[in-house]
């Protein structure tokens, strides 16, 4: 029953972290040289035109005033409008989050399957040829930049064996979810780039657990097959679950290269663009969403580990 208060405390901490994050991000965009006026005006504008753009964007007001105005609006559920396109930031956010999730969720499922399956397998057969091969190849994958993995996939699946589209072009009025063929390559690229570390952690942890007296006791007592695997995995999964959640959270905002190359611009890509054009409301909205999503995923991971441990205590 201590679980509920624990969750409440974590959620409260999440709110505090986000508030601090919003101030930090605003301050950081303030400190960066230049503002949206330069990006909006273009190189040909006269000084008077620049000044007019500055006033129309409200950038002539002092920074604290602008921040408080923005924060007040956010509390009322209004994330403001982009300084560059005048579009509603909430709208841009929904679009970009949709694209990100459409790729990251399948990628996370693939990672879970690959890393989980192969990690347990290799861990239970530590030192076998498969184990050594997996250890080597995952190390290579971890060390390969996303760009190379994505390019290799493009080469294989769109050039040599053209079965998948190279670029995600979603027909109007439809969502990316309706087109698994468009999701396949970017999700696979993210999964290949990300599964190595989780798999290696799980493998190490499983290997370690199999050599504990506890596991030996289970073996001596005739625990075999699926029951034995479950016993080992519930005890070994903790660190791997943590690694998995951290990595998934990272993919949400960090898959920029893959998003760019396959034309599924998500939250991370849009954030980079917003920073480049000093589009403060967009930067704020995007970074807060990414921050909240990351903290929630980590919370979910912690919760999963807690539940796993509880199961261990109970057995």
């Amino acid at each position: 029953m201590r679980l509920l208060p624990w969750i409440a405390v974590r959620v409260a901490m999440l709110a505090v972290s986000l508030t601090v994050l919003s101030v930090l991000v605003f301050w950081a965009t303030e400190v960066l040289p230049g503002d949206a006026v330069g990006a909006v005006s273009g190189p040909e504008a006269t000084d008077a035109e620049r000044a007019a753009v500055r006033v129309s964007l409200g950038l002539d007001r002092p920074a604290p005033e602008r921040f408080l105005k923005w924060a007040g609006a956010v509390l009322r559920g209004d994330l403001g409008t982009s300084m560059v396109s005048n579009r509603d930031v909430g709208e841009i956010l929904t679009e970009r989050a949709g694209a990100s999730l459409a790729v990251v969720i399948p990628a996370a499922v693939l990672i879970l399957l690959f890393a989980g399956g192969l990690g347990i397998w290799a861990g239970l057969r530590a030192g076998s040829r498969l184990d050594r091969w997996l250890t080597g190849s995952t190390l290579a994958l971890v060390g390969t930049p996303d760009f190379l993995i994505a390019t290799a996939l493009l080469l294989v699946f769109t050039l040599w064996w053209p079965v998948l589209p190279a670029v995600a072009i979603v027909p109007l009025g439809q969502s990316l979810w309706q087109h698994p063929d468009l999701i396949a390559l970017p999700a696979l690229a993210l999964a290949l780039g990300g599964f190595g570390s989780t798999m290696r952690l799980l493998r190490a942890s499983v290997t370690q657990t199999t050599s504990t007296p506890y596991a030996e006791f289970a073996r001596l007592n005739g625990v075999r097959g699926a029951r034995y695997v479950r016993t080992i995995v519930t005890n070994a999964a903790g660190p791997a679950v943590h690694a998995f959640t951290i990595m998934t959270a990272g993919l949400l905002g960090g898959g920029i290269v893959v998003e760019t190359l396959f034309n599924v611009p998500g939250l991370g890509y849009e954030l980079a663009r917003a920073v480049a054009t000093r589009d403060v409301p967009a930067v704020q909205g995007l970074s807060l969403t990414l921050g909240a999503a990351t903290l929630l995923i980590l919370l979910a991971g912690d919760l999963a580990v807690r539940l796993l441990n509880r199961g261990k205590e109970a057995s």
Partner: protein, 508 residues
């Protein structure tokens, strides 16, 4: 044991691959079947052109505020231009919604005649009121600076529409190049338009049938268009931010036409089957220049500026950076436009003379930092070569490489930099000249814009260009065209400052 696990492992991997491919393959088959179906139907009636541009989430239907090239490409298909710059035409412009532009003898008043029979998509006639509003809209609706060009030369508050086919525009001061200002980017919109949605009445060859920012726009041929009806039934403008992704989409046949590709990619595509690469012709090339700040030492010395201009090997830039897809510049903007002075001697690459001039100015071994960023294709690469060229004449030159989007964000700081890269979109020299640095040139440009006789104006313009060539503070290294590529069977795209797809055709 080991063999068993290996075999099993391979089995699992194979099963996963099959499942994955089967799962996705189904979707892609259904998809391509759909495409083939619509393609066949389309071929019989005129077809659909799928064209990809950079675009992005910041796209908007409001062309006055659209920050991406795609916004203007789309707007020009939807809203008819008033007139367009046309170096071959008698007035330097060709007329579209307008029938003529006449200038009073004192160059203080312009009279615009509206073509009769032009209709909006809601069936209403386009009249002088709409044209007047189209000209005032950039100010009223806070358009981007590039749309404000007309208000720099004309007193729009005093402009009037005395009858249904006439607009009278008084100038702020006498100017002869008012047509250039009006025709550079103005499109005809309906009087009172405040919002731009797919339903907004429009006057162009196409109307919007669907739009999602950052994804795509679908356009269908408009039956109410006054001009030559397009052949195409429909156009789909797809937003693909990354140039490599655009090239991949073209090569795989996902789109028929792509715009804005890098010179190196053009080089690779050139050899590909079924793809043709096109770059725009002069004057539709951006002016890539490197500005030396004459307010800072030692650039206040004319000899140093000349030395820098002589040090740069322009042919090498055209060859190595642009693979031949660029035009050697001569330190003066506006190449290809009617008033550009073609008599000027082409600046030579003369490192020895450059060294000598530096020595005379006492600036041997000077230190300088060139600031540049990837703001247009080849800008950084050209900057790198210029730094090398400067090192070759003994200048301790370094490159300050900024990340994308950084160069112009702090404009006052940018202006103060001693040595920096910059570019100007294709435009005539006189109205786009920024006065303030060379009083003599300022006076000549003023004459070139306002002298009563055409000859006097041209003479003054050439004088100004000569002075800029000699003493100016810009290394106008190259003019860079925009490069596009299309699959076989696409034709009729006009490569202007932005591609014009209105008269394009596709065939199987």
């Amino acid at each position: 044991m080991a063999t068993r696990s290996r075999r099993l492992g391979a089995g699992v991997a194979a099963a996963l691959t099959v499942a994955l491919v089967a799962g996705c393959g189904g979707g892609s088959e259904a998809d391509s079947a759909d495409n083939a179906g619509s393609g066949e139907k389309a071929a019989a009636t005129g077809g659909t052109l799928r064209a990809a541009f950079a675009g992005g989430a910041s796209e908007t239907l409001n062309y006055l505020q659209g920050p991406t090239a795609l916004d203007y490409v789309r707007a020009k298909l939807v809203h008819a231009p008033l007139c367009e710059l046309d170096p071959q035409a008698e007035d330097g412009v060709s007329y579209r919604v307008l029938e003529s532009i006449d200038v009073s003898d004192d160059l203080g008043e312009y009279t615009l005649k509206v073509r009769s029979g032009v209709k909006f998509s809601d069936g209403s006639d386009l009249t002088s009121k709409d044209v007047l509003y189209s000209l005032q809209a950039p100010t009223l609706l806070q358009g981007l600076p590039f749309t404000q060009l007309v208000s720099r030369g004309f007193d729009l508050k005093k402009a009037s529409a005395p009858d249904a086919s006439t607009v009278v525009l008084p100038t702020l001061a006498p100017i002869a190049d008012g047509r250039d200002l009006i025709c550079q980017s103005m499109l005809a919109i309906k009087d009172g338009t405040k919002e731009f949605t797919p339903e907004t009445p429009s006057s162009g060859p196409f109307r919007i049938t669907g739009f999602e920012a950052g994804r795509s726009t679908t356009l269908a041929r408009s039956d109410s268009y006054y001009g030559q009806a397009p052949t195409l039934d429909a156009i789909e403008l797809v937003s693909i931010a990354d140039p490599t992704a655009r090239v991949n989409a073209l090569q795989q046949g996902q789109v028929d036409y792509i715009s804005g590709i890098a010179p190196a990619q053009a080089q690779t595509l050139e050899g590909a089957d079924g793809v043709s690469v096109t770059s725009s012709e002069l004057p539709y090339a951006s002016y890539l220049q490197f500005g030396m700040n004459p307010q800072t030492k030692p650039f206040d010395d004319e000899r140093v500026r000349e030395a820098f201009k002589l040090a740069v090997d322009r042919d090498r830039i055209v060859k190595n950076v642009y693979f031949g897809r660029a035009f050697v510049g001569n330190d003066v903007p506006g190449m290809g436009f009617p008033t550009y002075d073609t008599e000027l001697e082409q600046r030579a690459h003369d490192p020895r003379k450059a060294q000598q001039l530096l020595a005379e100015a006492g600036a041997e071994g000077m230190e300088v930092e060139l600031t540049a960023g990837p703001e247009m294709p080849g800008m950084l690469e050209t900057a790198t070569l210029i730094v090398e060229d400067l090192k070759a004449i003994g200048v301790k030159a370094t490159l300050n490489e900024l990340p994308a989007g950084q160069l112009f964000t702090d404009y006052p700081a940018y202006q103060k930099l001693p040595f920096k890269a910059g570019y100007n979109p294709p435009a005539t020299f006189e109205p786009n000249y920024t006065p303030g640095t060379f009083p003599e040139v300022d006076a000549l440009v003023a004459t070139a814009r306002s002298a009563p006789s055409k000859e006097d104006r041209l003479t003054a313009s050439h004088e100004a260009q000569k002075l800029l060539w000699k003493e100016g503070s810009q290394i106008g290294a190259v003019f860079v065209p925009s490069i596009s590529a299309a699959r076989e069977g696409v034709s009729g795209v006009r490569e202007l400052q932005f591609p014009d797809l209105a008269q394009a055709t596709v065939s199987e």
